[in-house]
């Protein structure tokens, strides 16, 4: 039973560029949430996708957008990258939008230079 997978593992981008990160949820899960974890801090909620729609959103600018596909996998897109976007981006999956149990992937380490 595969857990949550994310790709790529690491990514280096230049300021102003755009990036797409990918997540496949745990088998049987239909909801994907994205978090940003800056160095030395706890994860911050970006948004959640369910039934291919954004259901909840944290305090992040519109430069952060996402998508969920019919197979429940998800993408996180960040436009016009800033140095401050450098962080570990975590994907978590769950069953339904109101679940206490969410399983995290290993994350994608994004470095913006």
């Amino acid at each position: 039973d595969a857990g949550v997978t994310q790709s790529p593992t690491h990514l280096i981008k230049t300021r102003g560029q755009q990036v797409t990160l990918r997540c496949s949820p745990k088998s049987g899960h239909d909801t994907v949430s994205w978090y940003q974890q800056a160095l030395g801090q706890g994860p911050q909620f970006i948004f959640q996708y369910y039934e291919e729609e954004e259901r909840q959103r944290g305090n992040f600018p519109d430069r952060f957008s996402g998508h969920q596909f019919p197979n429940y996998s998800s993408e996180l897109n960040v436009n016009a990258l800033l140095l401050g976007d450098s962080a570990l981006y975590l994907c978590a999956s769950s069953f339904g939008t109101a679940s206490y149990e969410q399983y995290f992937g290993p994350g994608t380490r994004l470095t913006v230079t």
Partner: protein, 111 residues
């Protein structure tokens, strides 16, 4: 915006010692969760507490939710090097939604 504070920020102890880490907020949460995160990995859920005053035990780990559902503690008995990691607490603003994470306590258990 609900905020969670964790203390201490860093903790280094010898194998076999006991320790307690704390998670505090001025806000009431529907539930509180504890996670452990190791380098290069995502957080792993340890426990969820939902009732004020609730105590849950997971082997050598004891979790308590405050009566007012604003704070929680994690107590580890006879710590082992395998307990080393970043311990994160997270609370949800509504049932299972909008989880807010604390900054974490980084624990190092020396053999």
């Amino acid at each position: 915006t609900q905020l969670l504070e964790q203390s201490p920020q860093f903790l280094s102890i010898q194998e076999g010692e006991n320790l307690t880490v704390y998670c505090n907020s001025s806000s009431v949460f529907s539930s509180l969760q504890w996670y452990r995160q190791e380098p290069g990995e995502g957080p792993v859920l340890l426990v969820t507490v939902v009732t004020g005053g609730e105590v849950k035990k997971l082997k050598r780990l004891t979790f308590q939710f405050g009566d007012a559902r604003k704070d929680s503690s994690l107590h580890i008995t006879a710590a082992q090097p395998g307990d080393t990691g970043l311990y994160l607490c997270a609370g949800d603003e509504r049932y299972g939604q909008n989880f807010v994470f604390g900054p974490g306590t980084r624990l190092s258990v020396l053999p």
